[in-house]
């Protein structure tokens, strides 16, 4: 087995992993960094983020506003000390990206421009047309090339962490082009593997978004926190789930039902606005908008498209072709290529689809997990920024703010500890190799990977969708247990070594089943409605409301070998914002004024 001795190992080469790698390299050029990614870094799913990255920019804005938008948007399940740190670091890190060459869109006088985004009180979303994630990712990847201490392991698939003496000491990977195993030793390990949206059926996520890092940490006893909170994005392309960025609405697009009626005014987001107004109508938060879609469907006011199913419409016709081409070029092309329609002339059929995993590997405010030496950042982590619902454009900023922090922390840790015992690490790695190889070499299996994956995704959509009940969630929990059992009997067609994606897909599915179980069990355990977790049941509908007495708590899912996860509840850090009614539109503005008055 090939062995590489690094100081810091980073698993995941998306925005967070790259930012962390640069942070380690800048903090001490003598530290050896191994950056492991199952795809070339610029393929990572950061690439698909469209709208932008939030950070205070305008003189009329303040850290406090950004803090309150985020905490309120998260339905008070955010770690407030984390949010305070985040809002202050955000503009610094976004400026850093500018210095590294990120082509942020500009105002006429040459400054970085900001746009409106859902749930944000003031325009503070830095954007690079509608390819913000693409530009951030490529900027970070290209900048990372400057640092010789970053050794990339591109197209290496991580199969396990190595733990010894009570701390993490490395990872084992499969080099995809050969099928050979590598032991990458490290004094600290940062997981930055992204979300897990592919456990659901209709989603905006790339095929690689399979929750790998979450499952890796989870199997080593680290809790997955707040996994029941899955964000539905209200404007996705039906069937494929491809994303029409929130910036479509930030730029002034409307959402209308089959009667051409801007239905959001019926769901506490009104009154009607002609121009985009922050926190009103189409610029409400994603959970509220997705829920409104669900209600419209119940009321029979969605359009029943013969092939696409139930849809509402995104109307951008009044914005004109020139403006759309400048601000939303990717969206324009996607509508043309994938749907064969012209957004300057026609309505775009859309519906809510799975978009973002709010929960993840439980880490503290310094990105450290409970297993010493292990850090997690980005969508795979739960640092406590998003609470029960993420505000659009906070997550791209999260990548760089916490990528930097985790890089600094992991570097410090790596310098403080001594190297491990290489021969016993190798022994562990060899045992892992045998376990993973067995998955491929075993014969006589009858279950198809694709079938199990599809049943899982359908079951998650049925049981853990926008609205949930005990029965549907229980059915999903049962189904997942069944699939877990059936997984043991899978058959893998491809027995080869070079580029065996059949085998790797099976390993991914194994990860996905773990992650799906934490979501379903965390969900059924939360007997209230908060943010993206909405229930329709309970005695006298008790679970349809937020319950701060019992559930102003994080859910924490712990791994139980061969069984359902154990769910515990953890405290929420509250510093300066006590839970209030979460209001948007005119009601939200009134609540804001009352709060201001009471503070004076």
């Amino acid at each position: 087995m090939e062995i590489f001795k690094a100081d810091v190992v980073i698993v995941g080469g998306g925005g967070a992993g790259l930012r962390a790698a640069i942070a380690v390299a800048e903090s001490d050029p003598l530290l050896k960094i191994a950056l492991v990614s199952k795809v070339y870094p610029m393929r990572s799913h950061t690439v698909a983020a469209e709208g932008g990255a939030a950070g205070v920019k305008k003189s009329t804005d303040s850290y406090d506003y950004h803090f309150h938008d985020t905490v309120g948007g998260g339905d008070w399940l955010c770690e407030q000390d984390v949010v305070e740190y985040f809002v202050k670091q955000a503009p610094i890190e976004l400026t850093q990206l500018e210095h590294w060459g990120c082509p942020w869109s500009r105002t006429e006088d040459g400054h970085v421009n900001v746009r409106a985004f859902g749930g944000m009180k003031i325009e503070r979303t830095w954007f690079a047309a509608d390819k913000s994630g693409f530009h951030i990712l490529h900027t970070l990847f290209q900048t990372s090339i400057k640092y010789p201490s970053i050794k990339r392991f591109d197209e290496h698939f991580c199969v396990d962490l190595i733990e010894e003496d009570g701390r993490v000491q490395g990872v084992v990977t499969i080099e995809m082009s050969t099928g050979e195993f590598h032991l990458i030793e490290g004094k600290s390990v940062i997981i930055a593997t992204g979300g897990a949206g592919r456990v659901f059926r209709e989603n905006t996520n790339g095929g690689i978004v399979t929750g790998d890092g979450m499952a890796l940490a989870y199997r080593h006893g680290v809790a997955l926190r707040d996994m029941e909170f899955m964000q539905y994005h209200p404007t996705c392309m039906p069937v494929t789930g491809l994303l029409f960025t929130e910036a479509c609405r930030g730029e002034g697009g409307f959402l209308v039902n089959k009667d051409g009626y801007r239905y959001l005014q019926d769901y506490g987001l009104g009154p009607l606005q002609d121009k985009p107004k922050n926190k009103y109508m189409e610029l409400g938060p994603r959970d509220r908008l997705s829920q409104a879609f669900w209600y419209e469907k119940q009321k029979g006011r969605t359009f029943e498209h013969p092939t696409l199913g139930s849809v509402v419409f995104l109307d951008m016709r009044h914005l004109g072709e020139a403006h759309l081409r400048e601000r939303l070029p990717l969206i324009y092309e996607m509508a043309e290529t994938f749907m064969g329609l012209d957004p300057a002339k026609e309505l775009i059929p859309v519906r809510a689809g799975i978009h973002y995993t709010m929960g993840g590997i439980k880490v503290d405010a310094k990105c450290a997990a409970s297993l010493p030496g292990l850090y997690a950042i980005g969508e795979c982590a739960s640092v406590g920024l998003h609470g029960a619902n993420r505000l659009g454009s906070n997550s791209l900023t999260e990548l760089v703010v916490f990528g930097k922090l985790a890089g600094d922390e992991a570097a410090k840790y790596a310098k403080a500890v001594s190297p491990g015992n290489s021969s016993s690490l190798l022994k562990q790695a060899q045992a892992i190799e045998q376990r993973i190889l067995a998955l491929k070499t075993k014969t006589g299996g009858t279950e198809s990977i694709a079938v199990i994956r599809k049943e899982m995704a359908q079951s998650m959509e049925d049981g853990c969708g926008i609205y949930r009940t005990e029965d549907t969630m229980q059915a999903t929990c049962d189904k997942l247990a069944e699939l877990r059992a059936r997984f043991k009997n899978i058959s893998i067609d491809d027995k080869s070594s070079v580029w065996n994606t059949d085998w790797l897909t099976a390993v991914e599915l194994d990860y996905q089943l773990d992650v799906a179980q934490t979501m379903a069990h965390s969900a059924i355990n939360r007997k209230e409605s908060r943010g993206a977790h909405q229930r329709l049941d309970g005695p006298d509908g008790a679970y349809t409301k937020r319950d701060d007495v019992n559930f102003l708590k994080h859910s924490e899912a712990y791994y139980v070998a061969d069984g359902a996860p154990r769910i515990a509840l953890g405290d929420v850090k509250i510093t300066k914002s006590q839970p209030e009614t979460r209001a948007y539109g005119a009601a939200g503005e009134k609540a804001d004024q009352e709060r201001k008055a009471s503070h004076v």
């Binding site: 082009s177 050969t178 099928g179 050979e180 080869s496 070594s497 070079v498």
Partner: protein
């Protein structure tokens, strides 16, 4: 021991594999037509230097039916070369900014072709007048 065995495909006959490449090869080969006519003119200059008899002989040869046919073929080749050369002009020269906007490739090609045609006609008119 790695089981990798990357397979490298042959480039033989690459230019036949795509209509775009065929067109490219025609474009490139018509450059030979232009070169051929340069040779013809060069021979003319040499003949001129060799005295009146040589020069008249050359002129007579130029007027033979075979030579006229040859001229037509070379002219067709040269015209095609000019056309296809200007077709790729937009990618071979720096962007032309007009009124703050990048000039469209079609406009660039069109302008270049128009200029070439005008220059050709002007030359023809000039030679015509001298000949008369």
């Amino acid at each position: 021991m790695s089981k990798r065995k990357p397979y490298v495909r042959s480039m033989d006959g690459w230019w036949k594999k795509n209509p775009y490449f065929v067109e490219y090869m025609i474009h490139e080969s018509t450059a030979l037509f232009v070169a051929a006519y340069c040779l013809v003119l060069l021979v003319g200059v040499i003949r001129l230097g060799q005295g009146e008899a040589a020069w008249n002989g050359w002129l007579a040869a130029m007027q033979s039916p075979l030579s006229v046919l040859c001229h037509l073929v070379l002219l067709a080749g040269a015209v095609y070369h000019t056309y296809s050369w200007f077709k790729i002009l937009p990618i071979t020269m720096p962007p032309v900014i007009v009124g703050g906007k990048k000039m469209a490739p079609e406009a660039l090609t069109g302008t270049a072709l128009a200029v070439a045609a005008a220059a050709g006609l002007a030359l023809l008119a000039l030679v015509w007048r001298i000949a008369l």
